[in-house]
């Protein structure tokens, strides 16, 4: 093939680095992201809901193209990579120019520049040196540090401020790349999952988003969890007391709340949900003998606990149903949610040689509450709770946050830091011998405000010129020679 490879490569490079490519890519990102918010997205939407919202054919097509999970589709990732490439290429393409501008500031304006520069002003001066001195003094009083520029037999004054502003746009682009890099690192090496712990439970296995599990090198124990409500019943606060256990020792303890996670070796644990786990923590009872002769007793029972009431009788908390149903003389668990709870106690009497089934509530089919030698009154049911924790590992987030800070700084420079330059050059007409001081200025943004500043400078120079006595030609030469 007769394709000139270097030319092709050059053309490709030019295409990637061009602003047109960047604009087209950004518009594509905008359109595809918008589509991703309108079409229901996969992991967030339940499969049932997806199926009811779209017809099977439509769903098949959407799934095949990846529109049901736009932001994780390979083509979206590819597009983001292209955007990064475009930003990088455009920056590399333009950087040398800006760098030259930055590293070799234009200090002495030649004649062509002087003719076309705006704003500019020429002031009549007696001789070169007095013009230079006046310009220097004026610039000093405006807070600049003017320098004298010598070019062969010409002199000039140059002063500038915030040269860094010329490079600000590269700071912005670099910060965006840093953010992308952070997200890519997170995408490759990070993971997110869920961990549900009952109070008192310890676990080191996290369920990941994709259904797999991940074993942590340490374990997390939940010592306690709770919820506080506002007076109107809406939740005010969820909290969990967590402990990191490694090698059998408690390494770290923290009470986490929403917005304040626990961080241990790069893994973060966020308070995400809280609720009853359907298990009873303690059933509080007041027991009194059926014959009315003995004293009342307050007891608290966990499931399977046995307590003796007197020398003859013991009570055991046999079963607990968070949500019960009775069918054919049997009690069943309807669900794990705390709905209508039922508790089953077994009272054993040695004397009678018999067990009595005491139920709360007293279910006619199974309970013999009235026959029991002790009567019970349930005062409180303390339910066990679970705490739901979001677990995430984001090794790239430092890239993201430093990128964000850099982005803020970069944008501040781009929009609000102006690179200002001032030049002053004495120009003498060899025929007439008359001299004038050419003053010019330039700013890379906010030019209308800059013109005001320029006019201030010109006024100052004029004022200084009036103060300076005439310096003779010979003095001036001596000054230069002295330098």
């Amino acid at each position: 093939m007769a394709v000139n490879l270097p030319t092709l490569a050059h053309k490709t490079w030019r295409t990637i680095a061009s602003i047109q490519t960047g604009v087209v890519l950004l518009i594509l990102v905008v359109i595809l992201s918008a589509v991703g918010t309108i079409v229901l997205q996969r992991p967030a939407t339940e499969p049932d809901e997806m199926q009811s919202a779209y017809s099977p054919q439509a769903l098949r097509i959407l799934d095949a193209v990846g529109l049901t999970d736009v932001f994780h589709a390979w083509w979206f990732l590819g597009l983001m990579l292209l955007v990064s490439l475009c930003i990088t290429a455009a920056s590399i393409d333009r950087f040398p120019n800006s760098w030259r501008y930055f590293s070799r500031p234009y200090k002495y304006p030649d004649e062509g520049f002087r003719r076309n520069s705006h704003p500019q002003k020429s002031l009549a001066i007696a001789d070169e040196e007095s013009g230079l001195v006046a310009a220097e003094r004026a610039l000093h009083s405006l807070g600049f540090k003017p320098e004298r520029v010598v070019r062969e037999d010409h002199f000039g004054i140059f002063a500038e401020r915030h040269r860094i502003s010329e490079l600000a746009v590269y700071i912005v682009h670099a910060s965006l790349l840093l953010i992308f890099l952070g997200t890519i690192v997170d995408g490759l090496w990070g993971w997110r999952g869920y961990l549900s712990l009952n109070e008192g439970q310890t676990s080191h296995i996290v369920e990941l988003r994709d259904g797999t599990t991940r074993t942590l090198p340490f374990a997390i124990r939940c010592d306690a969890a709770g919820q506080e409500n506002y007076t109107d019943g809406t939740p005010k606060k969820w909290w969990s007391k967590l402990a990191v256990v490694e090698g059998g020792r408690d390494i770290q303890k923290k009470e986490i709340v929403v917005n304040d996670p626990l961080l241990y070796s790069g893994v973060r644990f966020y308070q995400s949900s809280y609720g009853p786990n359907g298990k009873v923590d303690k059933l509080m009872l007041v027991a009194s003998p059926s014959n009315g002769s003995g004293e009342k007793k307050e007891i608290g029972l966990a499931v399977n606990d046995t307590v003796s009431l007197d020398a003859d009788t013991t009570v055991r908390f046999a079963e607990f149903f968070p949500d019960f149903a009775v069918r054919d003389g049997q009690v069943y668990k309807k669900s794990n949610q705390l709905g209508s709870p039922a508790a089953h106690l077994v009272v054993t009497s040695k004397k009678a040689g018999k067990d009595f089934d005491v139920w709360f509530p007293a279910l006619d089919e199974v309970a013999d509450n009235s026959k029991s030698p002790w009567q019970f009154q349930a005062t409180d049911l303390k339910m066990g709770h679970y705490t739901g924790l979001q677990v995430s590992h984001e090794p790239g987030q430092w890239g993201v946050w430093s990128g964000v800070v850099l982005l803020g700084v970069g944008l501040a420079f781009v929009f609000y830091v102006v690179h200002m330059r001032f030049w002053a050059v004495p120009v003498c007409n060899p025929k007439t011998g008359k001299c004038s001081l050419w003053i010019g200025g330039s700013a890379n943004r906010n030019r209308d405000a800059f013109e005001q500043r320029f006019n201030d400078l010109v006024a100052l120079v004029e004022a200084e010129l009036k103060l300076i006595p005439r310096i003779s030609r010979s003095d001036q030469v001596a000054t230069v020679a002295g330098n």
Binding site: I19, G22, V23, L26, I27, V29, V30, S33, A34, G36, T37, I38, Q41, A44, E49, Q51, S52, A53, Y54, S55, P56, A58, F71, T183, R192, Y230, D232, T234, P235, K236, K237, W238, V257, V258, N259, D260, P261, R268, Y270, Q271, S272, Q390, V391, S392, E394, Q397, V400, W401, V404, L407, G408, L411, A412, F415, D448
Partner: protein, 467 residues
Amino acid sequence: MARAKAEQQQPATGMTLIVLVGLAIAFLLFMAFLNVVKSGNLFNETNLLFATLIFYAGAGALYLGFGVTGTESYVKFASLATWLGLIANTAAVAHRWYEAGHAPFSSVYEMLLSFVWTLAVLTLVAEKKYGVKVIGTVTMPVAIVGVVLMQLLRTDVHPLVPALQSTWLHVHVALAMLAYAACALSFALAMMFLIQDNLKTETFLAVTSASTLAIYTGIVLTRFEKWGGLGLVAWDPERKSEVFLSRGVRLFVTIPDLGWLMTLTLLVVASPLVFYGLARWKNNDSFLMLANRAVFLSILLQVMALVMFMVRARDGRYPSLDADGLFPTSLAASPFILSGLVGGVFVSLLYLLLLWRRPDLERLLPSADNLDRITYKTISLAFPLLTLMIAAGAYWANQTWGSYWSWDPKETWAAITWLVYALYLHMRVTRGWRGRRAAYFAIIGFAVVMFTFFGVTYLLPGLHAYA
């Protein structure tokens, strides 16, 4: 020449003013009705808001009156009314803050309250500092729409749910309000620029009318039901989803009579285009004036259609042709119709604004170049604010949900807004986009902002459930 003549004749006729005053009165009556329904003691938030509304509406009407008649003294009074409205607005914000015990940032209602406040402040700043005296012509209607929307939203004070108890909430929302208000301002300035820039209004008339016509044709063709009803998707408030008969088949309910209103609006919306066609065909500019009148009428009907649609689709249960019984519906069930109706009113109002170009108005406005520069300045204020807003939101999300970016619709649309303004800046800096094209961009940017603010909340589901 002929065009210039038509334009000189067009405004300042009593007719336009009367239509506008009529609009204002209809508007106030509607609001008063809403307030009677609510009832309450004298110095409560509702009344403060009502005062805000009346003052802003007064300011808006005066700015409009100025736009139509060119009477300069109107501007002074409009500015005064804005100040009064701002005082009432500040009192409403303070009342809310005191009552809720937290800054008014935690629901759409509260954020609208803050947004309108910020917008009024920025309007006065633009007026005093940059001398853009008539900026209120654009920003005040936006503020009025905001206050009206507040009347339709739930106002009860909710304590902050755990996820919202964060300093970052305040940082994030305060930045968002500032950024959005700056965007609104840039939009207003861009409109002023277009007025100042001698844009040819006929083309705009044709485009505006054609797009509103397309919207209403679409609605009537697809949703007109027997006996003048309007078919809407039924909504299940418990599951917060549309009601499905079977897979992919939605259940439609019929709201009676609304179909007739839509058809009537369709006819009126079509009329400016007909007059425009006639003007081109007969080469007679008097038809253009008729077309402009027709636009006024069409706005009146469009607002009515929108209000009726919102009122009737929000509450109530309606019968369905496909199933027995009554089913509720919701604005969320008909996102496209709602955005179509709002969009129609929006573009028609934009056209209305362009019509006000008059020599005396031009004299009061800064030069086109200056307006262009100030527009750029407000965007260069809005863009860093948007960036910081997104960054603060990401940081907060990272602390609450364990992930700094989860592509939920609000986040995605915030990113889209950011990208649109980034495009604007790139086009301006590298391609030298100035003037008209930059102004169009600023207008599009603000439309995207509005969609991010309202559209996403009401039309797209996501994690940002509270706002």
